[in-house]
């Protein structure tokens, strides 16, 4: 069953991030996907995440599709103007890609080509509206398309943003112009997520909670201090500090993720795992969370 049908039927959905390689060798990326495919419903393929040059998202999406799995094409507004966005989206549809996640995109100065020209011809709300326009069989200028798209469009939000209110208004706009599901930034504080959920109930849109396994206490502290809007509670950081060996850290990390999943599960419609290289930890997380089989 496709992601769209699962979400529309109200099923609990598991998605997982897949990063395209820096280079042309897709072997490892596809091996990870094959290993995790029995456990998850769809793979989000990132679009030059953190403004670091990698293979294009649509290329890895097409390869995942060829393997018989379901990709979610992540599209940012950073690198393409409205001409290139439309071209890539039409191409993606022709390659069998049916899901799109629309994002603003990190600023180029965060990545490995800080000299690059930032584009931002459209913003993420306009990108979602543009995809709806392509779905209706027209381009942004109103010209008729020979063959329309029928993308299932998602949006992102940071549930622990502070202050949250402007982000809630933006999310409402995203849903109004056509977002049909939401995948969130990483959540480590289930209480903060629950507060967010209460404020978004009237939007009636399925929300998939983002999870990034913590690799160490240092990473937890770095994220808490340097990644905008990620809130890592002090007790979670201390929990990671208590893990001394690499094996202990992996185990503790999986336990923390599973605990968050169990807490948020009744309040959301799925989870979105961003393993950041720890793809082999995914089965353990899902097992501990009671989401295997």
């Amino acid at each position: 069953m496709r992601l769209r049908e699962r979400l529309e039927k109200g099923e609990f959905v598991i998605t997982c991030e897949a990063a395209p390689p820096k280079g042309t060798d897709v072997k490892e990326a596809l091996e990870n996907v094959r290993r995790l495919a029995p456990l998850v419903h769809a793979f989000n393929v990132t679009d030059l995440q953190s403004s670091v040059v990698r293979m294009s998202s649509w290329a890895l999406c097409a390869l995942i599709r060829q393997e018989g799995f379901e990709p979610i094409l992540q599209v940012t507004c950073r690198d393409r103007n409205r001409l290139a966005l439309q071209a890539d989206l039409l191409g993606a549809w022709a390659l069998g890609i049916e899901n799109v996640l629309a994002l603003t995109g990190d600023y180029p100065t965060f990545g490995d080509h800080p000299q690059a020209m930032p584009v931002f011809d459209l913003d993420s709300v306009q990108l979602i509206a543009l995809i709806q326009t392509l779905n209706s069989g027209r381009d942004l200028s109103g010209n008729e398309l020979s063959g329309r798209t029928d993308f299932f469009v998602g949006a992102v939000v940071n549930p622990t943003a502070d202050p949250l209110e402007p982000h809630l208004l933006k999310l409402r706009l995203k849903v109004e112009v056509g977002a049909r599901f939401v995948q969130t930034q990483a959540v480590y504080d289930p209480e903060a997520f629950m507060r967010f959920v209460r404020k978004t109930e009237q939007l009636k849109v399925p929300i998939l909670v983002g999870l990034i396994p913590l690799k160490s206490a240092r990473m937890a502290r770095f994220m808490a201090e340097h990644i905008a809007g990620i809130r890592v509670p002090e007790e979670v950081i201390r929990e990671m500090e208590g893990a001394k060996t690499p094996e202990e850290r992996r185990k503790r990390s999986a336990e923390i993720c599973a605990r968050i999943i169990r807490k948020v599960r009744p309040h959301c419609q799925g989870i979105h795992l961003m393993p950041m290289g720890w793809d082999d930890l995914v089965p353990e997380i899902l097992g501990l969370a009671g989401l295997l089989g």
């Binding site: 100065t109 709300v125 992102v156 943003a161 402007p166 933006k170 706009l173 905008a228």
Partner: protein
């Protein structure tokens, strides 16, 4: 000189709620020279507003609206009239609109689009305040320009990098959309935040037609040389 032109009247009227009382401000500097300010703009805006049932509770021409001190002084003398208005409509470049918005706790709407910097750039560093995009959005953003104040030029709220009022691009830099949210909330006009703005017409940023290049430098270099 900043070259501006009045927006279509439908767009201006689209900012206003039924029967809202308006105070008119017009720039007697650059905008006057390009016939989008001064008395001329006041009289055409007055007609547009009256025809649409919006009472004009007062008006003033201020020489160089980009002079924030002058704007503050002049408007404080007209305080009673300004306070009786629901909103203020400003005929000037984007810098002038922001100068007025910065001194008033009222919705301030632009009557004009700013097309080019031309030559003389007023008295407030123009490029920091106005991107001369030709399609002014200050009406929806509480008089704070998201094109110059947000590195991504976003039109519908903050990106995920906004945190505790700061921009992701630079520590200590205020997030433009947090400022816009705070301002619109204070004005009770979050409905403007929630309006969908279609993608900007970038032709207006890029191509300045010869007919509009009536800047001082252009005139000196080309017209007089002929």
């Amino acid at each position: 000189m900043l070259v501006s032109e009045l927006k279509p009247k439908e767009e201006i009227l689209g900012y206003l709620r039924e029967g809202e009382r308006i105070f008119l401000v017009s720039c007697g500097g650059c905008a006057d020279v390009c016939e989008a300010g001064g008395e001329k703009a006041l009289s055409s805006l007055r007609t547009v507003l009256q025809d649409a049932g919006h009472p004009c509770v007062g008006e003033t021409v201020i020489p160089f609206l980009c002079n924030k001190v002058l704007v503050g002084l002049r408007l404080s003398r007209l305080q009673q009239k300004v306070e009786s208005a629901d909103a203020v409509l400003v005929a000037s470049c984007g810098v002038g609109v922001q100068a007025v918005a910065a001194v008033l706790e009222k919705p301030v709407f632009p009557a004009s689009n700013t097309i080019t910097y031309g030559a003389f750039q007023g008295v407030w560093p123009s490029e920091e305040r106005c991107a001369r995009c030709g399609d002014c959005v200050l009406a929806y953003t509480g008089g704070i320009c998201p094109l110059t104040a947000c590195p991504k030029g976003l039109l519908h709220g903050p990106c995920g990098g906004s945190y505790q009022g700061e921009c992701e691009v630079e520590r200590g830099r205020p997030c433009a959309w947090q400022r816009i949210y705070d301002r619109l909330e204070a004005l009770g006009r979050l409905d403007l935040f929630l309006r969908y703005k279609p993608p900007k017409d970038r032709q207006k940023e890029r191509d300045v037609p010869l007919s509009r290049r009536k800047s001082l430098f252009w005139a000196l270099e080309y017209v007089e040389g002929e």
